[in-house]
């Protein structure tokens, strides 16, 4: 518990208070929660809203390795996972590990990659292992993929199918900063990269893994399980929804609620934790009826609506 408080405190001091990352506190907390829940995050946002900086800064502070892949339509699965190549010096095939062998992998514009490459990546995300030339390689823990996608671009992209979207624990919608925030960003534009490069790890990889274990021990009252079940069921009953949340969504919700409780210094989950993570967990798992979508109904509004209807545990 002390360790996570230290991590959160450092994130606040080093990144937020020093204005290395402006207005990114919620995103940082959500990514940390997803990491502690052994999940992956999908960041949706237009280019230039500090998605890469956020991931890089977090991995630096947590003492974790960080790699980035820019997805393109001609990218092959082997470009991500790696391949064997003949080395004349050794007179045999040697393994060239792909960028997936890291702790935090930033996959930029995931929807630009071909479905084949996407599938290979998503499989690795789920199994936390890759197979190269029939040989199995376990990925180092913690392993987290932070994928980004641009919600505007529709041409030359391969949108992720619902089943694959479901594999992301959370979806974070990153928007533009406020005017004041933008002024701060401009003032520190020359220093941001330096500041991120200069960040020193505050915890070790082992300590992060210890915290991952601790999150599992966060207590959850039965009434919280019922509350989550009611929320998930209500997503299926909602009049604006064509496809509601799956049981995997319910599991994701409880995992995230536990991690959220933990990073807020509690070893028990309260209904507020569930509410806090409901949107990031559920929004990419719900499909609206097209006719209502055209009318301006959004998934965010549906989730809000559900949260203002489902009764919280009592007494």
């Amino acid at each position: 518990m002390l360790m996570i408080m230290k991590i959160i405190d450092v994130i606040k001091k080093e990144l937020i208070d020093r204005e290395v990352l402006v207005e990114k506190e919620i995103e940082l907390k959500l990514i940390t929660s997803a990491l502690l829940s052994k999940g992956h995050a999908l960041m949706e946002g237009v280019p230039g809203v500090a998605k890469t900086y956020t991931c890089k800064a977090l991995s630096k502070l947590l003492g974790l390795s960080f790699k980035r892949i820019q997805m393109t339509p001609d990218l092959l699965p082997s470009d991500i996972i790696g391949f064997y190549v003949y080395d004349q010096r050794v007179g045999g095939f040697v393994l060239r590990k792909g960028p997936i062998f890291t702790n935090i992998l930033l996959v930029d514009e995931i929807n630009r990659a071909s479905p084949r490459t996407q599938s290979a990546l998503l499989e690795a995300m789920q199994e936390r292992q890759v197979t190269i030339e029939g040989e199995l390689f376990k990925l180092e823990e913690p392993f987290m993929v932070i994928a980004t996608q641009n919600p505007i671009e529709m041409e030359g992209v391969f949108p992720l199918p619902e089943a694959q979207l479901d594999r992301f624990l959370i979806k974070i919608s990153t928007g533009y900063t406020s005017t004041q925030g933008l002024v701060k960003v401009m003032k520190r534009a020359d220093e941001i990269e330096e500041a991120i490069e200069g960040l020193k790890p505050v915890v070790t990889r082992e300590e992060v893994l210890e915290e991952v274990k601790n999150v599992k021990n966060v207590k959850v009252d039965d009434s919280i399980y019922s509350y989550i079940a009611s929320i998930v069921e209500d997503t299926r009953k909602h009049t604006a929804v064509r496809l509601g949340a799956s049981p995997r969504a319910a599991i994701a919700l409880i995992k995230m609620a536990k991690a959220w409780a933990y990073i807020n210094g509690r070893d028990y989950v309260i209904p507020d934790d569930v509410k806090a993570v409901a949107k990031p967990v559920l929004t990419h798992r719900i499909i609206l009826k097209p006719e209502l979508e055209i009318q301006g109904v959004t998934v965010d509004k549906v989730v809000e609506d559900i949260l203002t209807k489902v009764p919280v545990p009592k007494p």
């Binding site: 919280i224 028990y268 919280v312």
Partner: protein, 349 residues
């Protein structure tokens, strides 16, 4: 300052309301032309029905008072029993006589014919070509015709007979007065009314025509009393509003303190929910069932006195630890906080 203007406004309102009530009660006719009006006594207010014998009595009275000369008296002799032809034969005015005979000879006599003839008589009267004796006789002849066809104008004809008698009386009186006085003397001569004579015959009580009372119904005194009482109560409530609210709040708090929360067997949880109920009573903000304990705290925090708010905050976090964190020690904190909240709420609110 705010209260002073409030009292002033109330006073003005009170004076205004009372002025309206006084004005309303003072007005006899509040009818606006063109709008429906309340008409009292639309039916003929005759205590005893008048008939032709009353007319005969009036004629004989005129004769006794020497307001009718012998010649005219002869003409009106046996007035009540005159037949149509007898009445017509006694009329001096040839036109009237001819018109009556035409009417008599008409195949199908209708009430409209009677009405037309009455209007014809009015025209003659206004032009001064019809004397009251001829008018009386014409009306008698018309009355016999009206009776034959059972016209609704019979009673009006009899009323017109009275009017004619009145005209006769006034004419005679004015002649006798003008004979007594010198030409230099000023005298106001009452002009004869065409239809509605004022009753001046001593023996005969002429029927009064229905008076149109053009006013709203009288407002009973009880209404004014009720208005007065209501206004006084309203003023008293306005003045004492602040104190009443305080008293009401105290009552609510006391009730909330005494209220037991049903269906909660756990004493500590019951203490929390009682605190929620109390805070709801104080702030007037109820807790929705979808609101978490923290959301409710956030909602009411700014509405409470800082000391009470802090106590409720402690209770909320203790509840959270006890309820979801399974820390039994926090139960005692809820109880203590709840007691503190009850006592604080009574003082600070």
């Amino acid at each position: 300052m705010k209260h002073r203007s409030l009292y002033l406004a109330t006073l003005i309102l009170f004076v205004f309301l009372n002025s309206i009530a006084i004005i309303v009660s003072g007005e006899e006719d509040r009818h606006t032309p063109g709008f429906p009006q309340v008409v009292e006594g639309a039916s003929i207010p005759l205590s005893t029905p008048i008939n032709i014998s009353d007319i005969e009595k009036a004629i004989s009275e005129l004769y006794n008072r020497s307001l009718l000369n012998r010649k005219n008296a002869e003409k009106l002799k046996n007035f009540g029993n005159l037949s149509f032809k007898e009445a017509v034969s006694r009329i001096d005015n040839t036109d009237v006589r001819n018109n009556l005979l035409n009417l008599y000879n008409k195949n199908e006599l209708t009430p409209e014919d009677i009405e037309t003839f009455l209007n014809y008589l009015d025209t003659l009267k206004v032009s001064g070509t019809l004397n009251p004796i001829d008018e009386l006789l014409a009306l008698k002849a018309l009355e016999t015709l009206s009776n034959i066809i059972q016209s609704p104008y019979t009673s009006e004809i009899i009323l017109r007979m009275f009017s004619a008698i009145k005209d006769l009386e006034i004419t005679k009186k004015s002649i006798s007065i003008s004979e007594k006085f010198t030409p230099n003397q000023q005298i106001s001569i009452e002009k004869p009314s065409l239809r509605f004579p004022s009753p001046s015959l001593s023996l005969i009580q002429l029927p009064t025509l229905p008076r149109l009372k053009l006013s709203l119904p009288n407002i009973p005194q009880e209404v004014f009393i009720s208005i007065g009482i209501t206004t006084s109560i309203a003023i008293a409530l306005l003045i004492s509003r602040k104190y009443l609210k305080l008293a009401f709040d105290r009552l609510k708090i006391n009730l909330a303190v005494k209220k037991t929360i049903q269906q909660i067997s756990d004493t500590f949880l019951e203490a929390y929910w009682r605190s929620v109920h109390l805070v709801s009573s104080i702030t007037g903000l109820s807790r929705n069932n979808w609101e978490t304990h923290r959301e409710f705290l956030e909602k009411v925090f700014s509405k409470l006195d800082p000391r009470v708010a802090e106590v409720f905050k402690d209770i909320t976090f203790a509840y959270e630890e006890y309820r979801y964190g399974f820390r039994l020690s926090s139960g005692q904190k809820i109880l203590e906080g709840s007691k503190k909240l009850m006592s604080y709420a009574k003082i600070y609110k």
